[in-house]
Subunit: 118 residues, 2 copies
């Protein structure tokens, strides 16, 4: 990307030189994709505040355990949550990482904006 069809804004040309790589946009959008589904967001919200087993998570979000398992897999694959096995159960909670903390903060901020007590 070097040539623009029109040139009404000097600012834009300079800006394009600082534009991040496509890969960065892909990574960042993938992070937002993790919380772009209402069910997954609800699960993550829960795990930001407690540690729970799959059955309880499923009951809390009113969804089947395979469905919940699927979402947990995605969140875990992204490193946002961790799991711990104890007996028959697997307990999930938010990962203790900078990325997870940032996502938590971001989620809270948007909940706040949607003006709910939170």
């Amino acid at each position: 990307m070097q040539k623009l069809p029109h040139l009404h804004n000097e600012n834009t040309l300079e800006l394009l030189r600082t534009k991040p790589e496509d890969e960065v946009f892909a990574n960042v959008s993938a992070t937002f994709g993790l919380i772009s589904d209402a069910t997954r967001l609800e699960i993550l919200w829960l795990l930001c505040h407690t540690e729970e087993c799959v059955m309880n998570i499923a009951a809390a979000v009113d969804m089947s355990s395979p469905a919940v398992s699927h979402h947990l897999r995605i969140l875990k694959g992204a490193g946002l949550i961790i799991s711990r096995k104890e007996g028959k159960e697997v307990y999930y909670t938010l990962a203790d990482t900078d990325e997870a903390a940032l996502v938590h903060k971001i989620v809270d901020a948007v909940f706040d904006m949607n003006c709910n007590l939170n």
Copy 2:
């Protein structure tokens, strides 16, 4: 949601009483959905920093104008960007609202975390 299959965590029951309505999760996840697509995120990133016409945006993100028009429609529908018509061209830029400012801030934060100068 009142009954949990198991009860290993007192915390959870109390937490569930403070859980936001389903509608809130839907709204918040929809906001993240806006920036969960790499192309749309790239367009929004541009419009956070400049004002441009459709053709220039299309050139900058290397995509057809119908495709860009489609994304602009979604972002505008959500109130994140505004448009201004001048002659044959329509110029888009970030909306001057609290919500748009928050999204901008959030996007910047995640770009930072992906450790790119930004």
